[in-house]
Symmetry: none
Subunit: 465 residues, 2 copies
């Protein structure tokens, strides 16, 4: 039995035990956005620290931040070998609307070889795979092929407000050769992908206030500005009918797509019909002149994530509400700057502010867009590990989502970032019935141990950015 067969046998024999452990992790409702879950956040951090200890990591700590803590652990005895900094997050998205979940978001359940729970795919499941990979290598070999540092944060789903400072403050402690993150998706079922670019994020909340209280729409209607009309006007002004963002200067700093990238994306033969089927729409809609992959991977967006105002219960209430509002986020691409985009959004809102209401704009956390050259050895090696386990070529992709902290890593530590995702886009992260295909849990464990060993073959110089 060779080395890789031994690990395979190990993962097979431990499968039930590993899944039970993961379920325990998923049972902790670590919703970072809701302050009533602060205690659960702490519980999740403690649970993770214990797991890292059990896996064989050392120097474990729960590092305080101004928000939720960061869990740290390392193993640094592979002298002369490269150091991998592994990043993930133990916080999860809110779960509403609760009534659409088939099983409780924090009552993990396996159905049809899929593990259903909030966080199963994003990101507890993927984080725990790296913990198990380390544990497997330690148990089987008594050592690791590379040095490794784990930092698992608790604020990814609220924009990682504390992590940048944490990285700045711990530059030495976090020094490494590459950064590995598993918080992204595969290209499709059975189709592995390594992601080399992410969109950034900038967002604002718009609050519109009219009268000091709700008004009767019969008595006052027609003579007083309705805050819902005002917010609708503002929201409608953000795009033209072709889906192009109408905020002045919004596209100014967008780096044009390389012809090679366009060709590579086109070669992926993206299944538009399959997507429509999967998400249940009759037609797609996006910026004119770009393919779906270009729209979602390489073009910036402005999406309204929520709108509110007035009465939304059953039936009718003839109210002219006192206030209304909306939450907006933009996905940004290289070389857009989130600060600059927020400035442009504010100017746009100011210019489109209807009469008779007060409009205030507050900023959400921001994240810069990021890109690593797709021919970097750490990227290519990840592709090889996937190909070995999955038996098909790996796609080198960009992603529409934002992991703001990737840009911070890039900027502060100046290291190549390797995004090795095991999720599938159909897995409902951020939505009811989030789940994780256990096929990718099983294969992913094998990919990760293979990758750690592949990285061990490079010199530190090979990996320089």
């Amino acid at each position: 039995m060779n080395h890789s067969e031994k690990l395979d046998t190990y993962f097979t024999s431990k499968r039930e035990e590993h899944l039970e452990q993961l379920k325990n992790f998923l049972r902790i409702p670590s919703i970072s956005a809701l302050s009533e879950h602060n205690g659960d956040m702490r519980t999740a951090a403690e649970w993770l620290k214990d797991s890292l200890h059990k896996a064989g990591l050392e120097n474990l700590s729960i590092d305080e931040t101004e928000g939720h803590p960061v869990v740290y652990g390392d193993w640094l005895h592979a002298e002369g070998k490269p150091t991998i900094l592994f990043y993930g997050h133990y916080d999860v998205q809110p779960v509403d609307p609760l009534n659409l979940w088939e099983s409780g978001p924090f009552e993990p359940e396996i159905r049809d070889n899929k593990l259903y729970a909030r966080g199963s795919s994003d990101d507890k499941g993927q984080v725990f795979m790296h913990v198990l990979a380390v544990e497997a290598l330690m148990k089987e070999n008594g050592t690791l092929p590379v040095n490794i540092k784990f930092i698992i944060e608790g604020e990814e789903e609220v924009g990682s407000p504390s992590l940048e400072k944490y990285i700045e403050d711990n530059k030495e402690k976090l020094a490494a050769d590459i950064i590995v993150i598993s918080d992204t998706g595969m290209y499709g079922s059975g189709k592995p992908a390594v992601c080399y670019g992410l969109r950034g994020l900038a967002g604002v909340q718009i609050d519109v206030k009219g009268a000091k209280g709700d008004l009767h729409s019969g008595i006052y209607g027609g003579g007083v500005q309705n805050p819902i009309h005002a917010i609708a006007d503002i929201l409608a002004s953000f795009h033209d009918k072709e889906g192009t963002i109408a905020v002045e200067g919004f596209y100014e700093d967008v780096r044009p797509l390389e012809e090679e990238e366009r060709a590579a994306y086109e070669a992926l033969n993206f299944d538009v019909e399959g997507l429509k089927e999967e998400i249940g729409v009759n037609e797609l809609f996006g910026e004119t002149g770009y393919s779906y992959l270009e729209q979602t991977w390489t073009r910036p967006t402005l999406e309204v994530n929520g709108v509110f105002g007035g009465f939304s219960g059953e039936g009718i209430k003839t109210v002219l509400p006192a206030e209304a509002g909306a939450k907006i986020t933009c996905r940004l691409v290289p070389d857009q700057d989130p600060e600059d985009i927020v400035k442009k959004l504010k100017a746009h809102i100011e210019a489109h502010k209807p009469a008779g209401v007060t409009v205030t704009v507050s900023e959400f956390d921001k994240g810069k867009p990021f890109i690593t050259p797709f021919d970097h050895p750490a990227i290519q090696a990840a592709g090889q590990s996937y190909e070995k386990v999955y038996g098909v070529p790996t796609a080198f992709t960009r992603m529409g989502g934002s992991i703001p902290i990737v840009a911070a890593f890039d900027e502060i530590l100046n290291l190549p970032v390797v995004l090795m995702g095991f999720g599938l886009s159909s897995e409902n992260f951020h939505a009811p019935n989030e789940h994780f295909h256990l096929e990718n849990f099983d294969k992913g464990l094998r990919v990760i141990v293979d990758y750690y060993e592949r990285v061990a073959a490079f010199s530190k110089d090979d990996l320089k950015k």
Copy 2:
């Protein structure tokens, strides 16, 4: 002592007794919306029937409906004289939040010449004034100057679900020359008003559906239509920048304002600054080319009463929601037809439906607008009665709100409707600490007897619509 002085003396001498009787009426918690008060509804109906009997009315009955009963009584011995149909209601609004009441809602208390109790102004107090007016005339003269029919319903506060059928079924019994209703307000303190027009109502709910579940705004954003963008586009399309409704044909059937009406409203010298202060806005906003009173009394509106979609909790959630929607009501003016308006709304929505989403429209209950020509003798006579008692000119007003049953009277019985209100907008109907200014109770009694006598001077032909 002339006739009017005799009645004046009568009301003065009986004042305490009358107020004690009214307090007894107010002590009955006849809340139509809450089924635990069904027994109280019956008690109130019986109490009222007894009062009508005591006043000298005949043919008394408590007429069953599918809901709460209608109390009926008449006096029909003024041969050749016109017949007044008086409508009011003995049900009241719920009283929560109870803790905000300074004295119990069903423990009537006079403070500072104001009678505090649920129903004191809306509408038991005003109904009882007509009962007392009839009683006074009968006691003093042994007869009435006109024929009169009372119908007092018990479901006004829940939308009068049974009354239209009751009127239809009792067309003969309810035949009359004019309808008098005292369930509205004066123009202001010491400023009497006769209301000759009410706006109607038509409304729809718009539901926009995109993907079958919420989507991650990073992964899908830019390539899939966002239902919030779609609803915002639709809502923004309803008005132009000047506040004019942009629905095709919306104003087609609007009866133009008479020059005399515009002049009369202008003469009211509406206190715009006072209104801004009262509701807490820096500027008003409405359809260009019309004053505030014209906008709210005589122009149709389209107000969004509620908008919903996506995440509205604390912080940020980068979701591309599966659905969004809005609730809309239009206030209608003569001669707009609610059915026709709903058709036009639907056509507009269909024409402005963005790509990539499904839009469904469902209808709310409708009410027709109503107007009695303001130079109608029954309207003008009411103004004269007020002026005689209050010593100031009467305002002839319209009202922005809707009383759906008025339109039903108008349509089924085809009679002029005279709205003689004695309430003040500051009297907290539908809110805690409802009260009734007894100055208007005292003066109102004199106005009503004067009005009955004034109507007696007209022939039935004079009063034809």
